[in-house]
Amino acid sequence: MSATLPVQSGTSAPAALPALSPSPMPGDEYEQAPEQAANQGANQAANRTRTLTTAQASARATEPAVEQAPATPSLAMLLTLGLIAAISGLLVATAYEYTAPIIAEKERLATEAAVLRILPNAVAKRDFVIDAAGRLAPVDPVAGGGTGGGGGAAAGGGGLVYAGYDAQGQLQGLAFTGVGSGYAGPVEVLFAYDPQRQVIVRSKVLKSTETPGFGDKLDTDPAFLKNLEALDARLDATGQALANPIVTVKNGTKTQPWQIDAITGATLSSRAMGKAANHAAQRAAPAIQRSLALLAQPSN
């Protein structure tokens, strides 16, 4: 090879050195083999030597191929990977910049539509946060609109309480979100709450990563949705927590108004719904009951 390509003779000599250096290593192991034979039995050692010889043979077979291929300088590899990473970063950043406002706006609209849908008689809504004293405090609608994306994120963390009003400005009900961990991740649900009867009257799943075709049932299964038409969320005597925590029970064993009958085949998702309802009601119901006077004031 060095005769036919004299230019490469300089490069092939250092290439030959690393090619030589591995050969002592298998040799060492080869010498160890008899010791191991004494320890572990002749069969194993025979296997080992056989694999070693094949390894040496294949190493010899690949040697010419390695020498033949022009060595790619590391710099070229680094440059290529760097360039590809840069293109990739640019594409992802562009896509994110372009879609982020659309996604935020869609999620805000979806939340608003969900609130108005879950409170059927409502035509307008006001947003409230639960303050440190455990009472509702109105959110400035301008600021709320300005931080649409942030508001959505806050709702995910369980912040906002939405109050729906009809055309005459009468309170039609309240909506709040709750999160429960399900089969594949957190399930975020919006609940409608009737402050007079102290019951959860409707539900709508906002976000879930449950198995497609199963998690959907939390929103579509008519028998399951019946559970959430009058789900008891009464406060106990102190007004700090629910009198009876909301729980999900095995399918067909619901006996109390604060229990949820699980869907067969989607028990974990049903439990997530129960956890979400309990979490949401424990958080929001006491604050709502304390702030009924504020809520009763017509909007505007």
Binding site: M1, T4, P64, E67, Q68, A69, T72, A76, M77, T80, L81, L83, I84, A85, I87, S88, L91, V92, A95, Y96, Y98, T99, A100, I102, I103, K106, E107, A110, A184, K207, S208, T209, E210, T211, P212, G213, G215, D216, G265
Partner: protein, 232 residues
């Protein structure tokens, strides 16, 4: 080494990677749809095939997202094929594929929150779909841009078609609906197992049976006609 020292062999070996460029024919496109259908013939990408085909719309969304990733990554791999060193090609392909998966993830999120919610994590998992890496390694890295795009489109649509064949059957049997529209009266008792994971295996198995039977029948006919020609 002896062969390599002959100049002709060296030239041939050097030209080899670009020697296999194929011309653009109808077959470039149709292969992915039928002959080399990624699901029914090559049995690749079984994870999304079984996981998200419980409704027709999920199957269609997944198929089209995969097609987009196939096209985007194929185009970039094909354009960069002369610059990507052999040693780092897989890393490069993975980064390129992951890029397009992220883009399609954002796009689906912006287009439809419902679809995004129901496809869940399976959009991100397109990264590890072996059809895409397989196409990048076996086709895009050796071919010019146009055949790559056409072949990628064929493969993507073949994948979409296969997902849809599974998704529509499973939705009809398991839920009594197609694209969410109820097909039967209230008396229809959904065959629930069909939208559960086992249903994916049942329906896939049935489709594979059908394809194997068609292939066998064609081979038998060819044999019969050859035999008839020999005797006649």
């Amino acid at each position: 080494m002896a062969e390599a020292s002959q100049p002709a062999a060296v030239a041939k070996a050097a030209a080899d990677p670009f020697n296999r460029e194929e011309n653009l024919t109808a077959d470039t496109f149709l292969r992915g749809l039928w002959q080399e259908n990624p699901v029914f013939v090559m049995l690749l990408g079984m994870c999304p095939v079984l996981a998200v085909t419980n409704s027709a719309i999920n199957a269609l969304g997944m198929g089209l997202a995969t097609t987009f990733v196939l096209l985007g990554s194929g185009a970039l791999v094909s354009l960069l094929r002369r610059w990507i060193p052999k040693q780092v090609r897989i890393a490069s392909y993975i980064v390129i594929i992951a890029t397009f998966v992220t883009v399609v993830d954002y796009a689906i999120h912006a287009i439809s929150l419902e679809l995004y919610a129901s496809l869940g994590a399976f959009i991100q998992l397109i990264v590890v779909n072996c059809i895409i890496l397989g196409r990048a390694e076996a086709y895009a890295s050796k071919q010019r841009l146009l055949p790559t795009l056409v072949n990628g489109l064929g493969m993507g649509l073949g994948f979409t078609l296969a997902l849809f064949s599974l998704g529509s059957v499973r939705e009809i049997l398991g839920n009594g609906t197609l694209f969410g529209v109820a097909l039967f009266g209230d008396s229809f008792q959904p065959w629930l197992v069909m939208i559960l994971p086992p249903g994916g295996f049942f329906v896939l198995g049935t489709w594979l049976l059908l394809f194997a039977w068609l292939k066998q029948r064609r081979e038998r006919r060819v044999l019969a006609s050859a035999g008839a020609a020999a005797h006649g």
